[in-house]
Symmetry: C2
Subunit: 190 residues, 2 copies
């Protein structure tokens, strides 16, 4: 019993999932991506990994903008649809109502609870993926989720993705405040 080295090539992990939006040849396209996260602050930068051959990459390189659209848990089916089929084979430009922000070329999905527009600042060529880094220019939220400018994540009910085993999950319960509960922790020094 205990810790064993497994045959897993990567850790099973719960990740946020997004639809990354880009205009490709003038039309909005959306790709499901879970390999993204914040990478720096002041200004805040998002980094995302997308296989170089993907249709979306063309649009990000073309316009130097992209969007990050966070679905809620009722949107598993349409999110998965945008992960299954490439913009090369399926025209996804009519699947969603779309709006644009200050950047004008980063298509955002009107009905998704949180959408972000980003300006491409750096592209790092990895072996199979382009790692795009973009500066956040605007964060848009459905106003029904904002109470006095604050947001309750549970009411948004974001869709989560299990990397490795390919499952969608919902968010559970609030556990504790971060940068807080640890103040009471007293390590047992061995």
């Amino acid at each position: 019993m205990g810790k064993v080295k497994t045959k897993f090539k990567r850790p099973p992990m719960i990740l946020p999932v997004s639809l990354i939006g880009a205009n490709v040849e003038g039309k909005p396209n959306f790709q499901a991506i879970a390999w993204f996260n914040m990478v720096d602050y002041d200004p805040y930068l998002i980094g995302l990994s997308s296989e170089r051959s993907h249709y979306t990459n063309k649009g990000i390189k073309e316009n130097k903008t992209f969007s990050v659209n966070i679905p809620d848990s009722t949107m598993a089916s349409v999110t998965d649809f945008c992960g299954l089929y490439s913009g090369e084979e399926v025209d996804k430009s009519k699947v969603f109502d779309v709006f644009y922000g200050a950047l004008q070329t980063a298509p955002m999905i009107t009905k998704m609870p949180i959408t972000v527009e980003c300006k491409l600042t750096q592209t790092i060529k990895l072996r199979h993926a382009d790692f795009f880094i973009g500066e956040i220019v605007g964060v848009y939220i459905e106003d029904k989720y904002l109470v006095d400018g604050k947001l309750d994540m549970k009411s948004i009910d974001p869709l989560l993705y299990e990397d490795g085993l390919n499952k969608y999950w919902s968010l559970g319960e609030f556990i504790a405040k971060a940068f807080d509960i640890g103040k009471k922790f007293k390590p047992k020094i061995k």
Copy 2:
């Protein structure tokens, strides 16, 4: 009513949270980090962002190795502790029982359900953070979570982190299989 541009500088998001492990001057140190994700495959690479001044960065640069340790939801307090205090001020080397894998210098936390050892392959200097990219060399899992080599994420009950609003959450319910449920989706073409 509808989508509004907010004052948020970054999107509130649910992220996995990890303790990133590195030996600093020969002693294990652990730092809570939620800004990490997969960035490439074959071989699988993890990218993580850590503010350049952080103590852990010294160790990653020194040994060119690091570990990623995934806590379960009962470990919020000790995880938060490792996020609150720098290795500069608190010796975290005795907080956990630690083991090493093939790389020998990436300290992994015995009692955390999933641990990963990584070999540093690239460091990208961002404005405030080092973005470390590491190749996954081993994925270790508590054997009680493995049934016929498979894993049930719900039984692991990983700790999740809400970036932006600084809260810890648990995992909710299974919703659907990815790369599957979207096959039945028929877009209403507007």
